[in-house]
Amino acid sequence: MSAIAPKFKLSEFIKSLLDNIFWIVLLVSLIGIPAIQVILFYIEMPVINGELLTPFLAMTWLADPSRSLPILKAFMATDMFRVMAFPGFGFAALIAAGTIFVERKMLAKLQLRVGPFYCGKIEGILQLMGDGLKLISKEIIIPAKADKPIFWAAPVIFVATAAAFVALIPVAPGWVVADVDLGLLGVFAVIGFFPIITILSAWSANSKFPFIGGIRALFQMVSFEIPLILSLLGVVILTGTLNLSEIAASQSSFPWIIFLPVGAIVFFITMLAELERIPFDLPEAESEIVAGWLTEFSGMMYGLVQLGTYLKLYAFAGLFVVLFLGGWNGPMVVPPFPEEILTDGIVMGPITAKFPGLPLFDQQMLNGTLWFVLKTVGVIFFILLPRGVFPRIRIDMLLSLGWTKLIGLAFVNIFIALGLLYAGVLGPGGLQ
């Protein structure tokens, strides 16, 4: 017999289900519906087809598919959609989830294992969901002497900071959450917060392994921040702007990696160090200091830190693509939206359905997203690959690498960019 629930009774199970349903209905009707009414009262509703959209109209239109598309389009133009779904959190979390699965399978294949195998029948494709359920149902144990408010807040702030980083990455022309003129400086500012969060969580845990791991993380991120900043100066010199969308748009004929390969290599290495990935995973070196600054995190807190780490990985890969690989630029491969659907509607036998408001996405945006995702996936693959190939390096080697070799190469990169500019190869009068 199963040992999971030895005193299982069907009647009690049904009773608990009914209890839960009762409480959900009660809470929704007492709190949820009034809350929605209050929120709708204060939100400015958009004007669609010359009519002000009231909640009542929205409900009636949602029942009619031919009239619900304008509502969907109006929703997609809002900041809410951008933050939650497409260039923001949902999109990034989806890519992060894919990255975790691919990393586990690929690492297993590199080491002649099979990796996740049973969950979801096909090659363990639902393993991530299973892990999420496991993490959320595990008890969170906090050390007795820990500084509890900061210790609770650290994983949440880590994910939120990674999300703020994701917000700055342009995915397709016009599709970016925060299109700021000083986007690159904003990226540096956000990156500067990660060591602070790390050292906060390490200090608040009041334990030895997180403490050592936090200090290592501080050293590593601090010593690799300067080569990271200097290696991107070449791109800024050649484009003359700090706006990430404009930098991506400036590479319509060729990506900057052709002219600045040194900067791209330096940025890639510093990226590995900032992400704490092998060969630079000193802050969470499993075989030396248990799990480094993650040692005391348990249950969902650890899950949140993992989610934040992979969001950060996606954001760094996206930054590499935007700065060096041309962002969304690429040959047009997405076919145009068929004209006859716009003019005649969809004809299925005797039924003809007309949908005003199509197409939902324009061709430029779909094509840009496709190329951005393809390039980002390629960069993520190259970030994952060293984990199966390289050993971990010592901390003095890490510091001397960051402070002497990479900074020297970053200066070489700056002079390459200046030389290209003043020789007239690039810039005004040159190729661009």
Binding site: I136, K145, V177, K208, F211, L230, L233, V290
Partner: protein, 110 residues
């Protein structure tokens, strides 16, 4: 996006706290992790930071590296003669960094 991150992730911790079991507590369970041993001493000890000079160098050179962006983003509008003082700035920065690295390598004076 930062606010949305907090608003979306805090419920995950709250739900986890509601769903997860919290039973059978004993003082050993809430001790800090020390590989199964009973921990000895304080968690926040005096830890010798052998590479302290690098932190000092970061404080100076991070600001200098950010200053370069003000020049780099305006370079296309500047006259060519404005590059020469910037080369002097880079030389000073590079020389100072080399000297600081040399000093940080001399372990016995730290």
């Amino acid at each position: 996006m930062f606010a949305f991150g907090i608003a979306a992730m805090a419920p995950a911790l709250i739900i986890s706290r509601m769903v997860s079991p919290r039973k059978r507590s004993n003082p050993v369970k809430f001790l800090p992790m020390e590989c199964g041993q009973v921990p000895s001493g304080e968690g926040r000890t005096h830890f010798m930071m052998q590479y302290y000079p690098y932190i000092l160098m970061f404080v100076v050179f991070d600001v200098m590296a950010i200053f370069l962006y003000a020049w780099g983003s305006a370079l296309l509008e500047l006259p060519k003669s404005a590059t020469l003082p910037m080369m002097g700035f880079l030389a000073i920065m590079f020389g100072a960094m080399a000297f600081a690295l040399y000093q940080s390598g001399r372990r016995r004076i730290w």
